[in-house]
């Protein structure tokens, strides 16, 4: 019984630590990862969207490492007791929409927790709303 409990505990911990690698290499999960990292917005204002991304990153305490308007790519780093590195890209999608994709790394591991991206996009939504409505 004790052994069984220990094995379950070990497996849980190992799964918790190793999950990022598993998620990326397992078949079919690439789509899942992209979905959780992407949000679409009803706008074609690429400049406004990128400015909202920069503002959001600054609000969250990031320093911008790279910014490219033409390629619509922003890379940034947050330093606390931990380090988060993040890349955000903006792409045009069919139906006059923009897709914003964010991918982030926490210390040495890629972030694959949907809740983390959900939080990021919730923060970005507010900045997008302000930026895009000021433009109108």
């Amino acid at each position: 019984m004790i052994a069984r409990v220990l094995i379950v505990a070990m497996l849980l911990v190992v799964a918790g630590c190793a999950a990022p690698t598993a998620v990326i290499t397992a078949s079919g999960s690439q789509v899942e990862l992209r979905q959780m990292q992407t949000r679409e917005y009803d706008t074609l204002d690429k400049r406004g969207a990128l400015r909202a991304v920069v503002a959001t990153l600054q609000d969250l305490g990031f320093v911008i490492d790279k910014a490219d308007f033409e390629l619509a790519t922003i890379s940034a780093t947050k330093l606390q007791d931990y380090e988060i590195r993040m890349t955000v890209t903006v792409r045009e999608r069919e139906g006059n929409r923009l897709a914003v994709r964010a991918s982030a790394r926490f210390n040495e591991e890629p972030i694959t927790d949907p809740a983390a991206y959900q939080d990021f996009f919730t923060t970005l939504d507010k900045a997008m709303f302000l930026t895009l409505h000021e433009v109108d």
Binding site: R51, I64, L79, A116
Partner: protein
Amino acid sequence: MNKGRILAVALFAALLVGCETLPEDAFRLSESALELREIQSRTYEGVTDIEILSASSGVLQDLGYTIDEVEKELGVLSASKRASAKDDVEIASKIALDVLDCLVTFMIGCEDDAYQSSKDVQDIRMTLVVLPDLSEERTYRVRLTMQRLVWMKSGDLYEQETINDAAVYQAFFDKLSKSVFLEKEGV
């Protein structure tokens, strides 16, 4: 069974500590986010974004920074510099350990440099973003965010943090205001 359960929980806890997890609030605005935004922002009137970016580059050069990235389409400018961290308060316990280490190694290399845990240099990184005020012509809002990494003499990282000290931002904006004025006057 009880012992086994305790053992399992202990093992679980020990392994979890080894596996650092993402803090829940990493991508959420902190309670002080609005206040910080004010501390880190200033509005400039009667200027162009190019004038502000040029004035900023000037101030950063004055302060010994190197420009790492500029994207004028988005009004983004990032810069960094390495500076001494020696005037910071050193951590007594770490120094004490070094002293002990010195004694153990028979006083070899026990001069100042022996205090491997003392802070040596810090890398300061910053981003400055210039955004147009869409309701006012020729009015721009500048926001600055700064971080630093402090290194020990041993080369290990002592700490990394976001700089939230209002005085640091105030000092920068004082210099930037002067620089913007000089830029407009064509000095």
